[in-house]
Symmetry: C2
Subunit: 548 residues, 2 copies
């Protein structure tokens, strides 16, 4: 039996047309560092996006599904690019300006970007790369910055404002297949080449609806969201499209991401919501502790990218700002879970829920896979690798080395689920708690030992400054934990004392036999423990290991 | 360029599996008239739905896309049917128990329903129809009622609870195409045969997301919604599926739809939201005025099906209950608009928005078509027929007389939009105000005259009890308005006075030339003006018409 429903595609074009008309008076406010921020209505942003599309097509010859990259901060022009490029059928490719230059070059060449739209303030980063970008024919520059850095570069250079001036304010937007490519982001794996995730119009549209559902961020046109999470990082968690879908006002910090200007823009512009990683909130807290500001308009904050220390949540609770954990990744668009506690609980009862990664929406199916490949129960105890499935979850990576559409990867199960690489447990009521990364968990005799749990237990000892636990090969158990410990200055704890301290806190079979005192834990460029360095030091015999 | 996203279908099955696990402790509470209502968790409802699916397949042989009808009130068992039937790939067909018996018979035969699940209290309605239902092989009875009414009927009779007892609690749910049929409802047109609208899994899933978006009803698992709008009427405005998607608790009145039990269940169960037509709220207001009850838990109410008198909204404002207009129809799933005012307005400034039909979400595209077929601007003045387009809007009706999949109908434009049959204006900021029905509007010399506006203007005269305005043929102008007036007892106004009264309120060219005093305006079975009767009386020369 056939449905009688219309077959209307879910597209970014629809989001653009809806936002600029029905929500034409909602605003994108961009911080400029001047007395007054730049204020632009959705009607203006939509019209400028339309003119941008005309310019890209008529002046730069962008056609079909060609890639248009952005190297930009969060600002109105970047929102215009987010709307114009997918709507014309091209593919938006935001470049992560925090990546090492050689990775950026690799990514632009892999995606075959034809155009880069860049903020003037980022030309010092872009200019040295240009000679290595094989496919870029045009650079479009927006906002303040020294244009002379581009003198003599191979691509043609355009001024954004000049380019879009005097263009038509209508565009014959193509009828797009909702499964066609709309945007792409690369993940910056710690090993191997970056991997491209290509979002479809359908995935962006559905993800935008989810973001706006009451169970998720739940905002409407009475709200203003401070979008700190960069537009070059997983599509700014979907906010530029979600906001345009329902008229949520955007407050954009541009390059002013330091605690002082953030505190000022919150106090002055009174956003009701914000989204950022924990370090931003840590810095802001220090700032407002030193220089008090009223942050209380910001009733809810979505926090993701890393686990948020409970003490930070408590400190913000006191300021009238509620931090809510979300979990996701580039491959999940990124909304995977949000940690709103269930109904009817006291603030004390809510805590165990607030410190989890949160609950899955209907659009994200989840399963835990145990050490033997078996599907584990949701009992709050069985730890397995989290696999997810859904219409805004990646099922492949873009472009194989031999020219294939997709690149084979062991991140995807045979039945098409995404292996997240995260180890966790799920409670009977569906709350996810992540306990480790799959590559760091210790596979000991068919059971898993969480490196993170051992580290947290060790770091609770008053003499321990830092501790990193890694898996090392073991003849009998396949893998066993190696505990590497940094003692505080003047501390005297020895291995026996640390082993005894651990023994009361973890199962006996998890207790490490191998120990090493080290001067400091090696770190990655973003400050995370670099465990592959420790594993290599161990393999190369560079650590002074004591075995019990 | 291909997207790398997973291709996961949007299905009711996913809503079922998600609601019964992640939101397993949310509740469906059904009023029973006893001291304690029936309380059932989503986990229970989901398990019982699973057992129902097993029973329908194994015992009743339901297969493929066969239709399973329901003749039921709003209750937990009806929710189980809403979940089980689409999830197994069959088609749910709720029967509107308010329709005349001959229409019900026509509809069941047209849909070829194989099974009817009926509440025991509705057997007095169902039993006399059974001999005329050609395709019904099974009747399943749930809840109190006299079973002997079915003695000797042709279909096999089953007890719901016995039927689902001892069935497996798992089911190998099929992988469904999201565009396949999930449920159907028939519209009860005032003329011609009823027309079937067949919802797809995709349309139900997207509509459920929209209902739960902050800009629409915006509820989550901390809410309880009192679902007064019947499940046999446009899928209870989508609530049974929307609630299961995010764990919103349901309060179901079953057959206790009278003001007194509604007031009692609101005071006792404290729903935070409710959905119903204006007459329900009118009756409830009279009830609580006579017998005060605390309704204040019910912060928001979605009101649709007819325009709500502003005085009713004001009365509920004083009770702490905010009524919000929504507009839709069977063909729109039904969420078409909702009248949340834009941000930043005072209560006084909000009024002009609250009395509109509301604003369209991104999923509903709208256009106004003028008398000459032209697309009209959104200027708050240009009145045209509203046409809509979107993924939960019908593009056809089910089953032609000659066995076709679809039945041709002039409700659909050549480019596939739904002609709503409503005449209205849209403001520059996208708020819809309906002014008339297309079949009632007077097409005079290429311009449209709203019959409703003339009636309202006439009924503002102190001597006028009722007034109905209809289009009658006119040689020069094609159509002109005929004003039929019912005077209050003892009133003395004559045509000259009424014409002079109107002249100051409407454009001169709209002033009716033809007038008739009548004893009463003919009404339909649901109390609406029956204008086709007046038009026929005029055509047959039965009215005493004075022409100016």
């Amino acid at each position: 039996m056939l449905s009688t429903m219309q077959d209307v595609p879910l597209t970014v074009t629809r989001i653009l047309k809806h936002g600029m008309t029905i929500h034409g008076r909602s605003q994108v406010t961009t911080w400029t560092g001047e007395e007054e921020p730049q204020r632009r209505t959705f009607a203006d942003v939509g019209e400028r996006a339309t003119r941008l599309a005309n310019a890209l097509r008529d002046e730069l010859g962008v056609d079909g599904d060609q890639r248009v990259a952005t190297l930009m901060w969060n600002n109105a022009e970047h929102v215009e690019a987010y709307l114009a490029i997918p709507s014309m059928g091209a593919v938006l490719h935001p470049l992560n300006l925090r990546l090492p230059p050689e990775q950026l070059v690799w990514i632009v060449n892999h995606a075959a970007d034809r155009v880069v739209i860049a903020n003037g303030s980022l030309l010092p980063l872009l200019a040295p790369l240009l000679p290595h970008l094989k496919t870029v024919e045009h650079v479009v520059v927006s906002g303040p910055g020294d244009r002379s850095l581009l003198d003599g570069c191979a691509p043609r250079v355009h001024e954004y404002e000049e380019l879009i001036a005097d263009r038509p304010t209508t565009y014959a937007w193509p009828e797009l297949d909702e499964r066609s490519a709309a945007a792409m982001c690369y993940t910056s794996g710690t090993t191997g080449d970056p991997k491209g995730v290509v979002y479809s119009h359908r995935s962006i549209y559905l993800h935008s609806m989810q973001v706006n559902m009451a169970e998720s961020m739940g905002l409407n046109d009475k709200d203003t969201t401070l979008v700190v999470v960069p537009q070059f990082h997983v599509m700014a968690w979907g906010l530029p499209h979600a906001t345009f879908m329902t008229g949520i006002n955007m407050l954009m910090p541009d390059r002013f991401l330091q605690p002082a200007p953030l505190a000022e823009m919150i106090e002055r512009e009174k956003p009701t919501h914000a989204a950022a990683v924990p370090t931003i909130w840590q810095g802001l807290l220090a700032e407002v502790t030193a220089n008090p500001r009223d942050l209380s308009s910001m009733a809810s904050v979505t926090i993701g990218g890393a686990a948020c220390p409970p003490a930070l949540m408590e400190a913000y609770d006191k300021l009238g700002v509620r931090l809510c954990h979300a979990w996701g990744m580039t491959e999940t668009s990124p909304l995977g879970t949000m940690a709103h506690p269930p109904a009817g609980l006291t603030p004390e009862e809510e805590w165990p829920y607030r410190v989890t990664q949160g609950r899955f929406p209907a659009g994200v199916e989840a399963r835990l896979i145990g050490p033997g490949g078996e599907v584990l129960p949701w009992d709050g105890e069985s730890a397995g690798e989290l696999e997810v499935r859904g219409p805004w979850i990646a099922g492949a990576y873009y472009g194989g080395a031999a020219g294939e559409d997709f690149r084979p990867d062991d991140k995807f199960s045979e039945d098409g689920w995404l292996k997240t690489g995260d180890i966790g447990v799920i409670s009977t009521d569906g709350f996810l708690t992540l306990t480790d990364r799959a590559k760091d968990v210790i596979k000991s005799g068919g059971e898993w030992i969480s490196s993170v749990e051992l580290e947290n237990a060790l770091m609770a000892h008053p003499d321990v400054a830092e501790a990193a636990v890694v898996a090392v090969p073991d003849d009998r158990w396949s893998e066993r934990p190696l505990a590497t410990v940094v003692l505080k200055e003047g501390a005297t704890a020895d291995y026996e004392e640390l082993r005894a301290f651990l023994a009361g806190k973890i199962a006996k079979w998890q207790l490490p036999e191998r120990w090493a005192m080290i001067p400091a834990v090696p770190k990655t460029s973003v400050g995370k423990f670099d465990k592959k360095v420790i594993r290599k030091q161990y393999a190369d015999g560079e650590l002074d290991v004591t075995k019990f």
